[in-house]
């Protein structure tokens, strides 16, 4: 299948804290790759480096053979990398439909003049708008968001908002999608649905997924490979079964057993 993204020796510090230290990994195209680790391990920082929000101090990010290390966020999006955010960054005073339509931004062309002056259904701006609305409707169907379609995002429950954010990322038609704790705040049923959605994203839409998650059941069930971090250091990488038994991972999550004499 080939490698879609390769991270080489990524290092970044904030003040005196080294958030990431020489982290390297590569993700195979068409797989679900998970990043786990206790709070503050640097999982979200990796996402922020990939999407250009933080410039790394050193190291390289190579996407499909091209270095994108110092790209700006919108340039990264243009390359086909979409993401969601840990603390939901939706456009709260727009409807679900408009949020998803913004995901189509890069695929549309209408500028100020055409946008302000279209007058009938057949004009270029209107036709473009209609075509992309049809496309967004497919995503709404895919995530079963019909009920939220015309509602303002502020009025939606937390779990639905997470789905809208996922939908917005999908609307970009990315090749690689970065999901930051997509199941946070969801109940069991919603989590199960989400799990199937993520698998469908990989299998039906052919999008590679990098997942940051705290729910171990979900991670172990759907990941193809897992990377474990602690204090910005890579402590293990491998198949889910390997990670589950890895002594360093157990130590990071459960702490060390003190020997009692």
């Amino acid at each position: 299948m080939g490698i879609i993204i390769k991270i080489e020796n990524l290092t970044i510090s904030f003040g005196g804290i080294r958030a990431l230290n020489n982290v390297s990994f590569e993700v195979e195209k068409g797989s679900i790759y998970s990043i786990i680790g206790p709070n503050g391990a640097g999982k979200t920082t990796i996402f922020n480096c990939i999407t250009g929000i933080y410039p790394p101090d050193s190291g390289k990010i190579i996407y499909k053979g091209e270095e994108i290390t110092h790209f700006k966020p919108y340039q990264v999006a243009k390359k086909g990398i979409a993401r969601t955010f840990q603390n939901i960054e939706l456009f709260s005073h727009m409807t679900t439909m408009d949020n998803l339509m913004l995901g189509r931004h890069l695929h549309m062309k209408t500028g100020v003049w055409r946008g302000a002056t279209f007058i009938y259904k057949g004009s270029k701006a209107a036709r473009e708008e209609i075509a992309h609305r049809a496309k967004v409707e497919e995503i709404i169907d895919f995530l079963e968001l019909q009920a939220a379609r015309n509602q303002f995002v502020v009025n939606l429950p937390y779990g639905t908002r997470k789905l809208v954010e996922l939908g917005r990322a999908l609307a970009l038609e990315p090749e690689l999608i970065l999901l930051d704790e997509p199941s946070a705040g969801m109940n069991m049923e919603e989590k199960a649905d989400l799990m199937f959605s993520i698998q469908d994203i990989r299998d039906d839409l052919g999008i590679t997924v990098i997942l940051v998650e705290h729910d171990m059941n979900l991670i172990m069930d759907i990941s193809d490979r897992i990377l474990a971090l602690n204090y910005g250091e890579r402590i293990a990488e491998g198949l889910p079964e390997e990670i589950q038994k890895h002594p360093e991972v157990l130590k990071a999550y459960l702490g060390e057993e003190e020997k009692v004499a």
Partner: protein, 353 residues
């Protein structure tokens, strides 16, 4: 009722037959308005006041695109207003361009300045941006005031325009301004509904997410400034002609703040709100100057002002009442006049319940 069969209906200007009929009725109303005013003088209105309101509405829409939709603040819009006014007058006066060419030129000159002012806006937010734009507004007025080319302190006399050989009157300006305004209102409404408008709103709600979705922040923030300045510049050009003369002293800081007040009172993020805000503020500004004419309380207010403030007191009271109305609106309806409208609409939609 709310059933849709077509994606086009989402972006259509007239979402239903009712709205279409109301819009046509409104246009007819606008067409006969001068006649109504001449005949009945409702609320002491004159065509001049309506013209002023319309021009201010254009500015308020422009400012709302920037403040209400894109979430960037500007306290320097009097600067753009001045640029529009002086550019139009100079093109018509010195180089005898016809108004219909001079006006778009003024719009683009103003939006060029908007673009330049937009550049520092990329790094500044909130109060910092407010101060930077404030500086811009003050600089522009000062430059104009001290250049002989712009008429210096005395300002410029706008040339009298002629229509079929006869000099244009308020009523002719009314129709000219109204046609331009209606087109520009429709343009703004459509702009907000399509790709560029969505990018603006996205920047307001979450700039990080907007950028991660591929919106080029640099481009769209400066674009918002440019579009906003374009509307304001056109407004300025028209203002010069309804007033007859322009004087750099009149484009002061208070004017910028009044524009901002129109937007806030009307409702942030609403085109119709901007128009309502501009109408209310302009009307009050003019009518409160004659506050002593209000029955019963007018005389009492005048008396109060003369006794406790100053002998010429009436302008004090006007400013205080003006301020009070602003405070009350913002306090009781943070969404401004637009908020009242939404509530009324909801009330009627769900009426018996």
């Amino acid at each position: 009722m709310d059933m849709k069969r077509d994606y086009y209906e989402d972006i259509e200007l007239f979402k239903s037959t009712t709205i279409l009929i109301c819009s046509i009725l409104f246009l007819i109303f606008l067409a006969v308005l001068p006649w109504l005013i001449e005949k009945y003088h409702p609320l002491g209105m004159s065509i001049y006041i309506v013209n002023l309101i319309t021009v201010h509405a254009l500015v308020a829409i422009g400012l709302n695109i920037l403040v209400g939709y894109t979430g960037q603040i500007s306290m320097g819009h009097a600067g753009f207003f001045a640029i529009g006014a002086f550019t139009t007058v100079i093109f018509v006066l010195n180089w005898s361009f016809p108004l219909w060419i001079a006006l778009p030129i003024a719009g683009f000159v103003s939006s060029g300045f908007g673009f330049i002012l937009g550049l520092p806006a990329l790094r500044l937010k909130g109060p910092y941006l407010a101060i930077a734009t404030l500086g811009f507004g003050m600089t522009i007025t000062t430059i104009i005031k001290h250049m002989e080319f712009f008429g210096g302190r005395m300002g410029l006399q706008a040339p009298k325009l002629h229509l079929f050989g006869a000099p244009m009157k308020d009523i002719h300006y009314y129709y000219m301004i109204m046609v331009i305004a209606v087109l520009m209102v429709i343009g703004a409404t459509k702009l907000i509904k399509t790709r560029v408008g969505r990018a603006f709103i996205a920047i307001r709600d979450s700039d990080i997410a907007a950028e991660a979705m591929g919106v080029n922040l640099t481009y769209y923030k400066t674009l918002a400034f440019a579009v906003s300045a374009f509307y304001t510049g056109i407004g300025g050009g028209l203002y010069a002609f309804i007033l007859g003369f322009i004087n750099p002293e009149s484009f002061h800081l208070i004017m910028s703040i009044t524009f901002l007040a129109m937007v806030v009172v009307g409702g942030l993020g609403s085109i119709m709100g901007s128009i309502a805000g501009a109408a209310l503020m302009t009307y009050l500004d003019i009518k409160l100057q004659a506050i002593q004419d209000i029955p019963v309380i007018g005389a009492a207010l005048l008396n109060f002002s003369q006794k406790y403030m100053s002998v010429g007191g009436i302008s004090n009271i006007a400013v205080i009442v003006y301020g009070l109305i602003m405070i009350l609106i913002v306090l009781f309806e943070p969404l401004g006049i637009f908020g009242f409208w939404i509530r009324t609409k909801k009330y009627w939609k769900t009426w018996p319940f």
